[in-house]
């Protein structure tokens, strides 16, 4: 190269390049607010699942009817970590949609809400949301999200027909679950379904055990965030040891390594499998699609602890809709209107018609329809009896990215429970350091 370019030319080239870069940067401008005829156009970003799109479209149609001078455009994004990165990128470049649907809890905290999101604490619906929900969409400086959808439980979905045929009652401690599983196995039915084809489903043994951990040590989440409590020690180790024990005793379906969540739900619905550790809403919406007649045969119970007195149901708060700080003026007003419409009684009816309720709502203006799946009533009972606790991701910002693969390693006999728990303790360290938490 050097022999082709003299010093003077180098300057010319560099200056030209800088100009071109400036010109390129100038291309990305902002867009205006209202159009000439007083109409406001806003956009709504949701996930690309069938349910979310259907709900989004139905909400928009009803909202536009009630507010003829506001137009809402639906945009979609992928779910999972891909979607997380997209949301963060859009927020950091100031190009986020006017209203967007996203997770609550630790993922919400990673959005830097105080800098990027509009504070919705003074909106009319804000006084109606449950305190548990408020904590998962708030920082010390404000409340940023409104619920969309129902809460859901993590635990064990079971086939009530199989249980009653074999005369098994719902196990409330781990040893009775193992005993029940042995009995089911003897009857030629898969005792516990596992579906590592969808890697995230492998975490339920561990995540759904958190209610039990919290029952035994109410400060566990705080200590965990401060690097004082570890998964490699009891009570949190139990989740890992139970997973290993279930694999060692051969309680899983033969195709556990490649089966998907849809396969697992279908196996549970048809009675090929008796129990499936899963999120209530996920198993329910899968079964509603594949075996709608079986919805009434599905029950739900908490992941059993070693002692039945400690068995507590782990509950996930619903996702939320947020408004970014970049939305201003007339658009902001329109966006706020849309958010409060979602949580009006009309909005709730639309949610109920399109989403499958996997648990109770987190806002008093909404209630689950009377024809909801029987599983929802079972979940509600735990909540009413005070036997429920929020999932760890709502109490601590620390969640290691490799938990699903670590769980698969333990659940397929690649590594032991103790090694898996230690590997996860190592994994969360990265996240904690990334967040700049003290003590790591």
């Amino acid at each position: 190269m050097s022999s082709f370019i003299t010093p003077r030319r180098t300057t010319t080239v560099v200056a030209g390049a800088a100009l071109a870069a400036l010109a390129l940067a100038g291309c990305s401008g902002g867009t205006g607010g209202t159009s000439a005829d007083g109409k406001v156009e806003i956009t709504y970003l949701t996930t690309n699942g069938d349910d979310s799109i259907a709900t989004g479209n139905a909400l928009i149609a009803a909202f536009e009817k009630a507010n003829p001078d506001i137009t809402v455009t639906l945009n979609t994004r992928p779910g999972g970590t891909e979607g997380d990165n997209l949301v963060k990128t859009q927020l950091s470049t100031g190009e986020m949609d006017d209203v967007f649907f996203y997770n609550t809890g630790s993922l919400f905290q990673a959005l830097n809400p105080d800098q990027t999101l509009a504070n919705l604490a003074d909106e009319s619906w804000a006084s109606e949301v449950t305190d548990n929900f408020k904590t998962v969409v708030s920082t010390g400086n404000g409340t940023y999200g409104a619920p969309l959808g129902t809460s859901m439980a993590g635990g064990i979905a079971y086939n009530t027909k199989v249980f009653s045929d074999l005369g098994i009652s719902v196990p409330t401690d781990w040893s009775s679950l193992v005993a029940a599983a042995e009995k089911i196995k003897a009857a030629g039915i898969t005792p516990i379904e596992q579906t590592y084809g969808d890697t995230w489903t492998s975490q339920l043994f561990l995540l759904a055990d958190f209610g039990n951990v919290l029952k035994q040590d109410e400060n566990w989440a705080k200590d965990f965030t401060a690097n004082k409590a570890k998964f490699a020690q009891e009570p949190a180790l139990a989740g890992f040891t139970h997973l290993q024990e279930a694999f060692d005793k051969g309680l899983f379906n033969a195709d556990f390594a490649s089966a998907t969540a849809a396969d697992g739900s279908a196996a549970l619905a048809t009675g090929k499998a008796a129990m499936y550790p899963m999120l209530s809403s996920a198993v329910l919406s899968n079964i509603k699609q594949s075996n709608p007649d079986a919805v009434n045969d599905i029950g739900f119970f908490a992941m059993p602890a070693d002692k039945s007195a400690n068995t507590t149901l782990t509950v996930w708060e619903p996702n939320a809709v947020y408004i970014p700080k970049t939305t201003e003026g007339a658009k902001l007003d329109a966006a706020k209107k849309f958010v409060s419409f979602i949580n009006s009684s009309e909005g709730c009816d639309i949610q109920n018609a399109n989403f499958v309720a996997g648990g109770p709502f987190s806002i008093s203006s909404c209630s689950v329809p009377s024809d909801a799946a029987p599983l929802v009533a079972e979940i509600q009972k735990y909540v009413e009896d005070g036997k429920s606790a929020p999932a760890l991701e709502f109490l601590s910002p620390v969640k290691g990215p490799n938990l699903e693969n670590i769980a698969i390693s333990v659940g397929s006999g690649i590594s032991s429970a103790q090694d898996g728990a230690a590997a996860y303790d190592e994994d969360v360290k990265k996240q904690a350091q990334q967040l700049g938490l003290s003590g790591w």
């Binding site: 080239v13 030209g16 927020l91 490799n402 390693s409 350091q433």
Partner: protein
């Protein structure tokens, strides 16, 4: 790589490049025909699309970067990247993968090329079929083989069961997953290797083969003493291309196993991707810098060695 060309370029061309006096004058006259601002569009593209991102990535590898704000933390990311418990395993997997794929591509590519350069019925068709997998998207290949290799409903195990063989969980058995993906990679990339070898073999002057035939050499002797040594430059190209591909491999592994089951088919690139997915942007950029250094460190000595041999032979 500049060295590669230096060895290949004939001396008279090299002299011109180094700039012996008369050549320089001629060159200057040539250059004056193009005003220097002709270079600006290309240079601007180069700076914006290549130079700036490269230097930006070196900078971001030294930061804790959340997309919202950037903290300079020195070499902490590199320390953390190397203390990652999965990383040493991923390094080993990467090497195994690169060696298996490039080894098999050399052996099978050469064998197929010898077959496809001989006078064979339907040679053009067979060449096309060999090359066909190269044209298909890697993700498509990955997803297709994921279905074919399914331990329960897959065609492969279905075919094996006809012969009474219980096929293994190709992608779900932790001991097999990496090797299965490597074999699919070989299937997909073999066409390129074969093509390069065919070009190399066709370039060998026919006189050598005729002379060998007149001397009564057997097919094996012809291969051993003529085809193989004289297609050494092709071997060099295949080894270099497939080693680089193997060390950087990501898309096929991600489509087929996502590094699983557990971590049993994780390679460096998939570890980096997972860190990016988790939102550790600075850390994963540091990983990319490490990958860049590793690939360079492995490839430079190999390419020097191969080029030396090709000059000697």
């Amino acid at each position: 790589m500049a060295q590669t060309f230096a060895n290949v370029v004939p001396p008279q061309v090299r002299n011109r490049r180094r700039g012996a006096p008369p050549a320089t004058r001629a060159g200057r006259k040539m250059r004056s025909m193009y005003p220097s601002w002709f270079y600006i569009p290309a240079a601007a593209l180069y700076v914006v699309l290549f130079a700036v991102p490269t230097f930006a990535s070196f900078y971001f590898s030294l930061t804790r970067w959340s997309l919202f704000d950037v903290h300079f933390i020195g070499l902490d990311n590199f320390v953390q990247f190397f203390s990652d418990p999965q990383l040493s395993q991923a390094f080993l997997h990467t090497l195994v993968y690169a060696v298996i794929t490039s080894g098999l591509k050399v052996v099978l590519g050469l064998a197929l090329a010898v077959l496809l350069t001989s006078s064979l019925i339907g040679r053009g068709y067979l060449r096309a079929v060999t090359f066909f997998p190269v044209l298909v998207s890697t993700i498509g290949v990955g997803l297709t083989f994921k279905v074919l290799l399914d331990p329960f409903d897959g065609v492969v195990n279905g075919a094996l069961s006809v012969f009474g063989i219980q096929g293994p969980g190709w992608l779900t058995d932790p001991n097999l997953a990496l090797i299965s993906v490597a074999l699919v990679d070989v299937w997909k990339g073999l066409g390129i290797a074969t093509l390069i070898y065919i070009a190399g073999i066709v370039a060998i002057p026919q006189e050598y083969f005729e002379a060998a035939r007149v001397d009564g050499a057997s097919a094996w002797k012809v291969f051993r003493n003529i085809t193989f040594p004289l297609s050494w430059p092709a071997t060099g190209t295949v080894v270099i291309l497939s080693l680089i591909g193997g060390l950087r491999s990501f898309d096929l592994i991600w489509a087929m196993t996502k590094g699983g089951p557990g971590f049993s088919s994780d390679v460096i690139a998939s570890v980096i991707y997972k860190q990016y997915q988790a939102g550790f942007y600075g850390l994963s950029t540091a990983g990319n810098v490490v990958l860049f250094v590793v690939v360079t460190a492995v490839m430079i000595p190999i390419s020097i060695f191969i080029n030396k041999r090709s000059v000697d032979s």
